[in-house]
Symmetry: C2
Subunit: 153 residues, 2 copies
DNA sequence: CTGCCTGCAAACTCTTTGCACGAAT
DNA sequence: ATTCGTGCAAAGAGTTTGCAGGCAG
C-alpha cells in the first residue's frame, strides 16, 4: 500500500467515525508511515514533531489506538515494557516476530498456520479466536562469535 | 511434582546459589505452590502474608525471578501490564496460552511444534532461538450467547 | 458556533531500588 | 560476627487522564 493510499484510508476512517482530521493527527500519520522499522511511541513523538512541532506526547498516545484499530499500524508487545509499532504493509495479517536479544531487532515473519492453530485450540475450549501472536526470542550468531553485530542499532 | 518435592528443589536451588533460606522466601514459595490458577505478584503478596504477615511487596518482587530462574514458576505476559505466574507442574516446557477476553481466564496448552518453528525460522536469520511464546486471544462462546460465563471470576 | 481535540502536567500502574535494620549462616 | 536479606518508601518507566483553551466542521 502506497503512503498516499494509506493516508486516504486514514482520513476516511476518521471521517467515518465522526473524528476530526487535525494537523496533529496527519503529522503523526506521516511520521509513522515514513518508517520502515519498528518504532516506539516516544520515537514517533520525535518524528511527528519534526513535521509539526505542536504535536504532544498525549496526542501521540491518543492517536496510536486509532491507527491500530483502523489496521494501519500493527502493535507489537515483546514484553519489554514499551510497545512497538509498524506500518502494516500489504496483506500481512498473520505474522510472527523473531526478536534478537543481542541486536534488539525485531523481524516480522509470515506465519499463516497460526490462525489455524488458534481456531483448532480455541474451539476445543468453547472459544472463538480473535487474534494470535507468536514470538521467538533468539541470540545473534554473529554477535556470539565476534562480540558485535552489524544489525545492532 | 509434589509440593514437598518442589519445596526441596527450591531450598536446594537457594543453597547452591549461595542464597539464604529465609522464612519470607519459604512463605512466598508455599503461597505460590498452593495455587492452581495463574496469579499476579500482588495476589501472591496477599497469599504469602496469610502465611507470614511480615512478607513485603519488595521481597515478593525479589523472589519471583528466583523462582522463575529455578524453573519452579512460569512467567506469563499477556500484554495487560501485569505479569502472571503459575507453578510449573511436571514436564510442560513448550506451552501456549489461550486467553479468554470475556472470562479473563488463561488456559495453558501444550504446543510442542513451537520449538521446531523457533529453530527453523531463527536459523534462516542467523539466529539461535532461546525461547518462544504463542498466545491466542479468544472470546467465550457461552458469554456471547448468554451474557455471562461460568468460568468468569 | 458547537463541541471535539489539543497541550500541559499530574496521576496512575506495575515494578525496581536505596537505605538502615534484622536475621541466616 | 559477617553479610545477605528485609521492609519501607521513594523513584522509575510507560501510559493515561482532567482541565482550560483552540480549532475543525
Amino acid at each position: 500500500m502506497s503512503i498516499a493510499l494509506a493516508r486516504d484510508k486514514f482520513r476516511q476512517y476518521l471521517t467515518q467515525k465522526g473524528l476530526r482530521v487535525t494537523n496533529q493527527r496527519l503529522a503523526i500519520f506521516d511520521a509513522a508511515f515514513n518508517r520502515t522499522e519498528h518504532f516506539t511511541a516516544e520515537q514517533l513523538l520525535d518524528y511527528a514533531r519534526a513535521i509539526d512541532d505542536s504535536v504532544s506526547r498525549a496526542t501521540v498516545y491518543r492517536t496510536l489506538p486509532i491507527m491500530t484499530e483502523s489496521a494501519l499500524l500493527r502493535e507489537v508487545d515483546i514484553g519489554t515494557g514499551e510497545k512497538f509499532y509498524l506500518p502494516i504493509s500489504g496483506n500481512s495479517t498473520q505474522v510472527a516476530q523473531v526478536v534478537c536479544v543481542d541486536c534488539d531487532k525485531i523481524f516480522e515473519i509470515s506465519a499463516p498456520f497460526m490462525e489455524w492453530y488458534g481456531s483448532t485450540v480455541s474451539s476445543k475450549l468453547g472459544l472463538t479466536p480473535e487474534s494470535q501472536r507468536l514470538q521467538v526470542s533468539a541470540h545473534c550468531d554473529v554477535f556470539r562469535n565476534t562480540g558485535s553485530c552489524p544489525r545492532r542499532s
